[in-house]
C-alpha cells in the first residue's frame, strides 16, 4: 500500500520538476530581468542565504496566526455548542454566519491595527474574525449530524444532555470540525499576511513582501512566498494528520484503507 502511495506521487513530482526546469531555462534563455521573474536557482540561493531574516519574519507572523487560529476556531466551536441548544438562535445566526463567510473580512485589518497596535495581537484579531464563522457554520452542521437512531439510543440509556454531547454529538461533529479547521489554516495564513500590509513592526512575512516589492527585491519576495507556501502546506498537513488519527472511524478514511 505504501508502494502504491509512492507511485501516486511520482507523476506530480516529475511534473513539478519539469515546470521548475522550464522556468529556469526560459528565464535564462530569454534573458528575463530578475526584477520581473528570478530563476528558481536564484530564489533558492536567496532562501538559503537569508534564513535568519526569513526565520524572524516567520516567527513574527506565526505568533499572531496561531493565537488567532486557536481563539477563533475555539470560540466558533463554543458558540456552536451554545447556539445548538436554541433553534431560534440557530435560525437567526446561521444565515448571518453564511453571509459573513462570503464577505471580504480581510478589510477589517486596518481597524484591528488601529485597535490593537502594530504588533502581532492585531494580526491575531483579524485571524480570529476570519476563522470564527467557518467554524461556527460547520460545527453547527456537525452537531446536527448524529442520526436519530443514535440519539434515541442515548435516550434509552437515560443519558443527560451533557453526556449525549460528549459521548455522541461532539465525536459525530468531528469530521465537520476538522473540515473547518482545514479551511481555517488557509484563511489564517491569508489574514495574518494581509493584515501586515497595513502596518507592522519591521518584521513579518507580509511586511517583508510589501517592502521588498517596494525596492524590487523580487527574489526575496519569492523566498518569503516559498516560506509561506511551505508553512501553509505543513500546517494543513498537520491538521489533516490529526484528523486522520481522531476520525479514523469515518467512512472517507475507512474506504481508503480497504
Amino acid at each position: 500500500m505504501i508502494d502504491r502511495r509512492m507511485a501516486d506521487l511520482v507523476p506530480p513530482f516529475l511534473f513539478g520538476l519539469v515546470v521548475l526546469a522550464l522556468w529556469e531555462l526560459v528565464v535564462r534563455a530569454a534573458h528575463v530581468p530578475a526584477i520581473i521573474l528570478p530563476t528558481p536557482s536564484a530564489i533558492a540561493l536567496r532562501f538559503f542565504t537569508s534564513i535568519p531574516t526569513l526565520a524572524a519574519d516567520f516567527w513574527q507572523t506565526i505568533k499572531g496566526l496561531l493565537m488567532g487560529y486557536a481563539v477563533g476556531s475555539g470560540a466558533g466551536l463554543v458558540v456552536a455548542v451554545l447556539v445548538d441548544r436554541s433553534l431560534f438562535l440557530q435560525r437567526g445566526l446561521l444565515p448571518l454566519g453564511n453571509l459573513v463567510s462570503a464577505l471580504p473580512i480581510v478589510g477589517i485589518a486596518p481597524i484591528m491595527v488601529m485597535w490593537f497596535g502594530f504588533d502581532w495581537p492585531s494580526k491575531a484579531a483579524v485571524v480570529v474574525v476570519m476563522t470564527f464563522f467557518p467554524m461556527l457554520v460547520n460545527a453547527v452542521a456537525g452537531l446536527e449530524s448524529a442520526s436519530a437512531m443514535e440519539k434515541d439510543l442515548m435516550k434509552t440509556y437515560a443519558a443527560s444532555y451533557w453526556q449525549t454531547l460528549v459521548a455522541l454529538r461532539l465525536p459525530a461533529a468531528l469530521p465537520f470540525v476538522f473540515n473547518a479547521l482545514k479551511i481555517n489554516t488557509t484563511l489564517a495564513m491569508i489574514g495574518a499576511i494581509v493584515a501586515e500590509f497595513f502596518g507592522t513592526p519591521t518584521v513579518g512575512m507580509g511586511f517583508r513582501i510589501s517592502t521588498e516589492v517596494g525596492h524590487l527585491g523580487i527574489d526575496m519576495v519569492w523566498a518569503t512566498i516559498l516560506v509561506a507556501a511551505l508553512a501553509g502546506s505543513l500546517f494543513y498537513a498537520l491538521v489533516a494528520l490529526i484528523e486522520r488519527r481522531a476520525t479514523f472511524w469515518h467512512a472517507s478514511f475507512r474506504a481508503r484503507e480497504a
Binding site: 506530480p12 530581468p33 520581473i36 521573474l37 437567526g92 481597524i111 513582501i209
Partner: protein
C-alpha cells in the same frame, strides 16, 4: 419566511452590542477630551451621547457609519472622488473582469483535467496543494511585475482578482464534472457515446450545482483579490484604496463605510449568482 423574526432579533442584538462597545471604547477618549477642555460637570448621559458622535472614534456608532454612507453614496455625485459609488464601481469593474477571466480559465482547466488522464495525475496534487498556499501574498508582486510591462490601471488588479477566483473554480468544477455516478457513465457507454458526447450530455449538465457554488466562491474571492490589490496600488482609487487612506489618516468612519460598501458589493454578487443558480437548477430539474 419563519427565519425573519430570528434574523431580525440577532441583527438587533448585534447592533445593541455594537453600541455598547462603541460607548465602552470611546468613553475614555471622550473623558480625556473633557478633562483637556477643563469640564468636570458632564453627566453620564452627556458622556454617552458625546462618545457616540466623535469625529474620530475608536469605534464609530452604527448611525455614524450609516450617516457617512448616505453622505458618500446619496449626497455626493457619483463622479466625485469622494463618492463611495465612484470607488465601488472601480472595484466592481476590476472584480467582474477578473472574475470572468478567472472563471473561464478555471472551467477550461477543469475540462482538461477531467478529459486528459496524465494531466489529471500530475496536476491535481498541485491544485490541492495550491489551496493551502496563501495565494494572496503574491498580489503585491503581480502588480509590480505587470508594472514592468507597462500594464497599469485596472489590468493588474483584474489579474489578481482572476488569479484568486481561478483556483476555487477549477477545484469545484473538477468535482462537478466527476459528479455523475458510475451507473450513469456506464449507461453512456452502452449508448456507445464518445467522450465528447458524454461530456456535453452528462458531465456538463450534472455539474450545474457545482458550477453555481464555484461561481459564488470565485466571485467572493475575486472581490477580496481586487480589494487587496487596491491596497498595494492605491493611486487609482477603489474600496481598498479608501480602506488604506482611512487607516493612514485615522478616519475610522471612512474605513467602516468602505468596509460596508465592500460587504454590500460581495453580498450582492453572491446573491445574484445564487438567484441565477436557483432558477437554473429549478429549470434543469435538480431537486433541492
Amino acid at each position: 419566511m419563519k427565519s425573519i423574526l430570528p434574523i431580525t432579533t440577532v441583527v438587533l442584538a448585534v447592533l445593541a452590542i455594537w453600541y455598547a462597545f462603541a460607548v465602552w471604547m470611546n468613553a475614555p477618549l471622550q473623558r480625556d477630551a473633557y478633562t483637556n477642555a477643563g469640564r468636570a460637570d458632564y453627566s453620564t448621559q452627556d458622556l454617552i451621547v458625546a462618545s457616540l458622535n466623535m469625529e474620530r472614534p475608536k469605534l464609530p456608532g452604527p448611525h455614524q457609519v450609516a450617516a457617512e454612507m448616505i453622505k458618500l453614496i446619496v449626497a455626493t455625485p457619483p463622479t466625485s472622488k469622494r463618492s463611495l459609488v465612484y470607488h465601488a464601481l472601480i472595484t466592481l469593474e476590476e472584480t467582474l473582469i477578473g472574475f470572468v477571466i478567472g472563471a473561464a480559465l478555471g472551467i477550461g482547466l477543469a475540462v482538461v483535467i477531467v478529459s486528459v488522464r496524465w494531466l489529471d495525475r500530475s496536476l491535481t496534487p498541485w491544485l490541492v496543494a495550491s489551496q493551502t498556499v496563501p495565494i494572496i501574498a503574491l498580489a503585491p508582486m503581480i502588480v509590480v511585475i505587470l508594472n514592468q510591462f507597462n500594464i497599469t490601471g485596472i489590468a493588474p488588479k483584474a489579474a489578481i482578482a482572476a488569479y484568486l477566483s481561478f483556483f476555487p473554480v477549477t477545484v469545484g468544477m473538477v468535482k462537478g464534472f466527476r459528479s455523475p455516478d458510475p451507473l450513469q457513465l456506464d449507461l453512456m457507454r452502452t449508448y456507445s457515446a464518445s467522450q465528447g458526447q458524454t461530456f456535453v450530455k452528462l458531465r456538463a449538465p450534472a455539474s450545474a450545482p457545482y458550477f453555481f457554488a464555484s461561481m459564488k466562491i470565485g466571485a467572493a474571492a475575486a472581490l477580496v483579490g481586487a480589494i487587496v490589490a487596491e491596497v498595494t496600488k492605491s493611486e487609482d482609487g477603489g474600496l481598498g484604496a479608501r480602506l488604506l487612506a482611512g487607516s493612514y489618516y485615522g478616519q475610522t468612519v471612512q474605513i467602516w463605510a468602505a468596509l460596508f460598501a465592500a460587504a454590500a458589493l460581495s453580498a450582492a454578487l453572491v446573491g445574484i449568482i445564487g438567484l441565477m443558480g436557483r432558477l437554473a437548477e429549478h429549470r434543469m430539474g435538480f431537486v433541492r
